[in-house]
Symmetry: D3
Subunit: 114 residues, 6 copies
Amino acid sequence: MTKDIKNFKKFREKMNKIILDTDDKNIKRFFALDNRIYENGALDKKTKELIGLVASTVLRCNDCILYHLDQCYQEKLTDEELYEAINVALIVGGSITIPHIRYIFEMWEQFKKS
Amino acid sequence: MTKDIKNFKKFREKMNKIILDTDDKNIKRFFALDNRIYENGALDKKTKELIGLVASTVLRCNDCILYHLDQCYQEKLTDEELYEAINVALIVGGSITIPHIRYIFEMWEQFKKS
Amino acid sequence: MTKDIKNFKKFREKMNKIILDTDDKNIKRFFALDNRIYENGALDKKTKELIGLVASTVLRCNDCILYHLDQCYQEKLTDEELYEAINVALIVGGSITIPHIRYIFEMWEQFKKS
Amino acid sequence: MTKDIKNFKKFREKMNKIILDTDDKNIKRFFALDNRIYENGALDKKTKELIGLVASTVLRCNDCILYHLDQCYQEKLTDEELYEAINVALIVGGSITIPHIRYIFEMWEQFKKS
Amino acid sequence: MTKDIKNFKKFREKMNKIILDTDDKNIKRFFALDNRIYENGALDKKTKELIGLVASTVLRCNDCILYHLDQCYQEKLTDEELYEAINVALIVGGSITIPHIRYIFEMWEQFKKS
Amino acid sequence: MTKDIKNFKKFREKMNKIILDTDDKNIKRFFALDNRIYENGALDKKTKELIGLVASTVLRCNDCILYHLDQCYQEKLTDEELYEAINVALIVGGSITIPHIRYIFEMWEQFKKS
């Protein structure tokens, strides 16, 4: 795995630990629910993570993009599936999403090299 | 089909005709591309429309929701698949999406009755 | 209570019942958490509802505004407190929030008359 | 002028009067500044209102759109200028802006008929 | 004070000076109003800054978050008050706010160490 | 040209090449349309780029801002025209746009020095 992605994961893990260590019950419940929602069900995990990726792209959040892209990569998303999902994000969200689409391509290369 | 959905479709069709009758080439190109992107490919139309539905929900646009929900209905989306997609929209977009999720449930009932 | 607010509450209640009757556990969990978060704690309910009102205003969601405004009214928010919270929403969110601020004033009058 | 636009203007005027009658100085200052900014200067009023129209479209606020469209109409914006500005809104903001672009076309017809 | 926060403050101060030195009267008026709105009134400064913090979080602007968090820190906001305000931001704005909530926790640690 | 702008341009060019090399036809069509829309027409290129700049500012995308600012600079936009366009972005989009307005000023200085 390349250094950028490793660093993001390390920072994410460290901060999530700090957040969950506060013992604030509502934050814990939200984080638990956030994990549960992407589990296999009527829709499989891959489809849900892909939906999460497009939602993150039209809302323009790079950290959320990286998280879902990683999940999609682990679920064996193909290049063509990724491009078609990006098409939807681009047409719905407009050119304002292009910098985030550049980011998706940049990180996707990193996952494939890793 | 119930009256609400019929009215929306009629208004949508009428306005799209007015817009495309202006002979503005760039608008025509955008609208053509907007149709092409949801066609069957590496991802099937149903998955793409479902992605479009969640993107519309987190961006909170009822007219866009109704359009994609109609497409999902025609693609035989099941109740359980819809609920799980809504879960992703709700967790990603937060309680601010709830009024739009109420709208999805309201319109879904109408499609099923029609 | 005036008719507009009554209708909104009836629709809201009816749709929430339909949503929760689906027995989708994740939606139930989200809705339960959404209620819990505004309870008295280190911050009192009034302050939390006021924060919810401003968040709904800058995110420009009238249904969310009406819900939190109702809660604020029940928590005895004064006119002056409301105006100062609106000031923050207006300066942070810009003139794009003005239609929603008109809505707050319109509904506030209705709550005070009811 | 058609009835829809007249009603909007009447409601807008009535609510702005209520808001400004509260004697909240900061709201008054914001509203005054909001008017001042669109006056003729290095950029003429027509260009500024057109910029305001596109900003309102990508932020997806129909009331703001109607206000700026009215100003553009009074400043003798041509159809072709309007269509090209809409092109920018559509490409930047994506298909999520289409319902608002339908609204612009619908209202523009009303202004031209009035 | 840690280096990150110091750097941000220095950059912010430098750029605000450049902006205000342009002698553009409308920008000056906006900046003046932006300061005035958070002063003690019917709501105290602490509550207003906390509202500003949550508004900045749901609108997902880290620089705005850092500014209001600093003000909250100076107004002696407690950890528990901060967590409960974050709860509201998280439930209203959804998981898309989580990277900004990580940032709040990271910076809050820095303020407390400083 | 300063190093920051040069780096951005190089990264942008490199990533766009990677994206267009995928041979995904819909992305190519979107990118082609995105270029065509800003060409001289009923509105001149300078006005369109200025509209694109303000749209990018209220939607808060620094990469989009830098692109349009560069185009505006090449179209000989004056300081006063820039300030007045910024005024519209600031009043419409609110204080949440201020970090992006700081960025505009910072980059504008760099273009003028280059």
